[in-house]
Amino acid sequence: MPSHDTDDERAVGAGSGVFAADAEVGPDLARVDWSRTPLGPPDRWPQSLQTAVSILLSSRFSMWMAWGEELTFFCNAAYRRDTLGQKYPWALGRPASEVWAEIWDDIGPRISTVMTTGEATWDEALLLFLERSGYSEESYHTFSYSPLRDDDGAVVGMLCVVSEETERVIGERRMTTLRDLGSDPSVVRTEQEILAFADQQLSRNPQDLPFTLTYLFQPDGSARLRGSNGMSADHPAAPAVLPPGGGVWPVTAASDGESLLVPLEGAPFTGLPVGGWVRPPEQALVMPLLQQGDTPYGFLVAGLNPFRVLDDGYRGFLELLAGHISAGIASARSYEAQQRRAEELAELDRAKTTFFSNISHEFRTPLTLIMGPLDELRTEFADGDPRVREELEVAHRNGLRLGKLVNTLLDFSRIEAGRMQATYEPVDLSLLTAELASVFRSAVEKAGLAYDVDCPPLAEPVFLDRGMWEKVVLNLLSNALKFTFEGSVRVTVGAEAGHAVVTIADTGIGVAADEVPRLFERFHRIENARSRSNEGSGIGLALVKELIGLHGGTITADSVEGEGTRFTIRLPFGTDHLPPESVAPLRDTRAPSSANTYLQEALRWLPDDEGRPPVPHLGTDPSADLSVLPDVAARVLVADDNADMRDYLTRILTGAGYRVDTVEDGAQALEAVRAQAPDLVVSDVMMPELDGLSLVGRLREDTRTASVPVLLLSARAGQEASIEGLHAGADDYLVKPFAAAELLARVRANMELARLRNHQARWRAALVDSLQEAFFVCDENGAVIEINAAFTDILGYGPEELPYQPIHPWWPDADDDAVAHDQVAAAFSLLTGHARGSYTIPVSHRDGHRLWVTAMFSEARDPDTGSQVIVGTFRDVTAEHYAIQRESAQAALGMRLNRATSLPEALMGALTELRDVWNAERVLAVVRREGREPEVTSTDPDLTWQDLPADRREEFTAWLGRPPLTAVSDATGTGITVNHPEGPMVLHIRLGENRPFTDEDQLLLSLMAGQLAQALVRAHQIDQQRETAIALQRAILGPSHLPEGFAVRYEPATRPLEVGGDWYDTVTLTDGRIGIVVGDCVGHGLQAATVMGQLRSACRALLLQDAGPAKTLMALDQFAAGIPGALCTTVFCGVLNPETGELTYSSAGHPPGILARPDGTTTLLEQGRSIPLAVRPGRHRPEASCVVPARATLLLYTDGLVERRRRPLTVGIDQAGEVVRNGRDASVDDLATQVMARLAPLNGYDDDVALLLYRHPAPLEMTFPAESSQLAPVRKALRSWLAQCNLSPQTVQSVLVAAGEACANAVEHGHRDAPGESVRLRAEALVDALHLTVADSGRWKKPQPHLNTHRGRGIGLMHALMQQVTITADTTGTTVAMHTRIA
């Protein structure tokens, strides 16, 4: 790269002011030897180039520009930083095609489009391979090229506003890969499926991943290729197996958990795939697939994009990929293990069911062998070591319970096998039932319930098997106590229609109507019923029903949920329904055999004697000393309704170093987990209130607790498969009985798994956080409940204040910026009712600055909770938005400026455009022209400089002294200084209440101001040219000053020319006579005008030689013959004596003049006529004369006034005469206006028209010093003028006296207030009237005859002598206007 020339000090001299706007790039620009570039030294640069460079340097947006034939390169500091890289400062002042040689094929055509068409280009995220950092680099740029124009409006350069999007585009691409990778729809996959899916997703990003290889370690330390993407199967760089310790890829480093960058040179790496590029990768990154606490699963080889360096972002992306693949392998392997375990559990359950159903007498023997010694030990240790005693009690209670369960199951087996040995004795039912009921009295009363046993003797006995009946009654009572928390339990015996009736009723929780029919089903349990205990097998009532059935009786249940349950047993009297061999006579009564079992169990449900609750609440084992446990000890929550089981579990887990909390049911467990999530929950499946399966469900529903692992324990077998627990979302399932070692192994394994799952959660968080777009999740109410890091970066709002309720704080303020607020509100309302959508809206950053974002959103269902959420992203499109706004605003301004035909129009158009762009209240421009007061142009049309408050004027004056394109602002708005061709200018925009004016706005304003400054220069040049042209035209058109009494009009046929072929002229001759000329050259437009100009000058010169009309025209004939285009010009030429009204004239083929007399008659000046000019040069021309009488009007014109198609000329002439006749009361100037208006065709004149009017005599106009000596000469002049008006002597006298009085008054005031001031007198004769005006600079006294008789009398005289007198006095003087009719 050529080095930059830094040799000299010439640099910062002339022209450096252009570069002063920027301290960084400016000095380097100043050092460029511009004289060697086609642009030449900066002090000779055109205004337009200086403006463009100022805009460039003063912007903080990244820009470069090119100017002139070689497209000489300039850039600003932002561009240098973002894009130019090492090319700085070498690039400054070089041809753009050299600076960007490597991408010229891409950008060259775009630039040439801009240069040739003047239309801007717009490219979004265009891929360009820049060589700014020493290598060819993949980069993306969003940019616009806009034309730059020189002072004449020609396109001579272009401006590029660019934002580099490389980070965004590449970030999005990587994001997509990560998202795709995480989008695996199926929950469970095998390892091979996971790797195949990953390969498929990775193959969709051949840019970042030209190829990938996945090797997994084998047990022998070798690595096997299990996945590949982009690489052909037989490529030497992708062997199927790598031996332990090496080969093509660094196996050892990977198995040690190290990442390694491998250069891809030499033998095995030739012919590698190129991926999304034209060149193969030059390097590959080998990354271990890490495994928690173990050697890596394998490693991932990723071929690297040759057009990017391996920066942190790239490396992070690749590590996330490897991490994801590792997690996938972990989950596949753990799933496979779980599946094996679930299958084993199912097998175990099947075995258990078989075992139970085949249970035999053998069971009772060992049970008895346990219970017997136990009873002995209890007796022996009754006063012994409390800990031993407690253990014995536990063993004893559970022995009893087991015995009862075994007996019940044996009963079933017997019943089912028809081997139930029953003996029916005639029993006193009331007595036996009351006895059995009394066993429960203590327990019922301890539970705080009323116990009502109403068993009156029956008339006859009932044949019963005592043992069976005992089971019936005890089961039902046990049931009543278990489900009744307040009220009573009632037992009654009675007789009804040949049956004994026994009822056992409670005021417990009852059961739902639809559950009642299933109450007696075997193993059916009512789920989640509130009870004192969940102990029980669900076979009690089934057994009761079977037993009653053996007695030929029935049992029914009536229950109302929340009120209670009543069981009614009907037993027939007599023996007819019983097998005769089983009927026996009454034997001795004996104590109920199993009553103690039932009672012992029931008492365990109830509080002990000290009133302590039956089970500890959330308590830890008091024997465990928490202080000695390490802080890191994992917390386990145990939920079991069985107190022994809780104690047992606590002992095992505490012993293994876990911290343990216990609760007695699912509801408490849920509460405890929500309060503080443990590392693991160990829960029984069957619990009152909320069972284990429901607990798992509830935990999984809530995002806060969804990830807490749960290990379920159950004694349940048979109907429900244990796999159900896993399906419900439990992490593991353990069936009782279990060994302590097995429990601990499961607890440990599940905690490991949970850590893996947390890895998944972390993976998701990393994924979301690595999004470069702001990501958010809204709940169904619109509250934002989750955001990512980019959200905070873009909007400034962090996660610590979540949730953000609508209206979100980033909405633009409803008061300050209602328009923006409404846009957001409208977009937000789209959120509901649409599955997905996208919109671009303005939002406010936390620090207040305005952003534009494209919001994308779609509806989703939260997989954990099932609730409806909206996920969305915000992409920051501020730069794009403003680029588009800039383009359109500049285009609109350009249109307006092009349409403007003058400088004021251009300025006004620009102000209007600025007002529209910012929707501003008012935009104004203040211009200070040399030596003049500043002048205001405003969108508020009446505003003047003086209307502005003094402090505003001071501020503007100060701003006017600043350099062009300096931003200025104050409390009322913002502005910028601009070079106006006639002096400094300030543009000021008043936005209105609190509206912010952002940096983006400031940039746009600078651009528009620069554009305006250039346009003003152009418009100024055009204005000057036009003014010159008009001055020239007027010079050839006619005299700048007309003698008194004349009025002229001129209407050219060709606009915007102000001249044509027609002309008029008046020439005051040396003797006071006036030469009058009206002529008409053939044609119109510029051609005719040039001929006309020459003829007019010639004619004028001839008249001044006192040639007379005929002689003048004859000389003009000769002159015109030598001028092409002068042939057939018609001319009326006359000489008027303004004293006498004598007119001598000659006409060269011109329409006749019209003379309108005061008596209302008209005469055409038809004599002295001959042919048009130059037709017969040398031929004699006639001359005629007439007198213009006093108060007559002479009308001369060209044929454009009167000539109309399909109409004789005379019609037009008559019409003109009539208008003049009717204009008796009009001044001659007003009359000229009337003639032009009345004779104009509907669509205006289509031919040149020249018109000249004269009324005789010309008005008298005198100015004299306010001295009384002047009165007589003034009177004399007036008397002489009045004589020309042909008035009666009386009228003359009256006018003289009235005028004399007015003059005398004026003189008197002139003397008094300001000696030497002048008095002006004007007298004008209309056809029927006479106007007199006397004006002075003093103030008159009011008429006060008694004080100053003759002055007062003077005013009286004026009123008496004239028909109308008006005296107007103000600070500048007094004017007397008098009017009298003179018909």
Partner: protein
């Protein structure tokens, strides 16, 4: 500079005093006119036949002597004299229909 005015004292055929005024009477020369009138005692005829212009200043001077003068005037001055009201106080000769 005053407007030229010729004042010629004389006598009527009947011997009464006569002042003949020729020229224009305006504010610049009323003083001279006044002096001339003051210089003649008793009844006086002022002949304004040669006066081409008479303004309110001149009229005021004449009003000051209206108790002892008579005027001779041409119809040219009639409107001014009539409008001023002096004809009601002073006999004017020479007007149309006048004495």
């Amino acid at each position: 500079m005053t407007t030229p005015l010729t004042l010629i004292p004389g006598q009527q055929p009947d011997g009464s005093a006569l002042l003949t005024v020729v020229g224009e009477i305006d504010t610049t020369n009323t003083a001279a006119l006044g002096e001339a009138l003051d210089g003649i005692e008793g009844p006086l005829v002022v002949d304004l036949t040669g006066v081409e212009y008479l303004d309110s200043a001149g009229l005021s001077t004449l009003f000051a002597h209206s108790d002892r003068i008579q005027l001779i005037a041409t119809p040219l001055l009639e409107p001014v004299l009539a409008v001023s009201g002096i004809t009601e106080l002073v006999t004017v000769h020479g007007l149309t229909g006048g004495g």
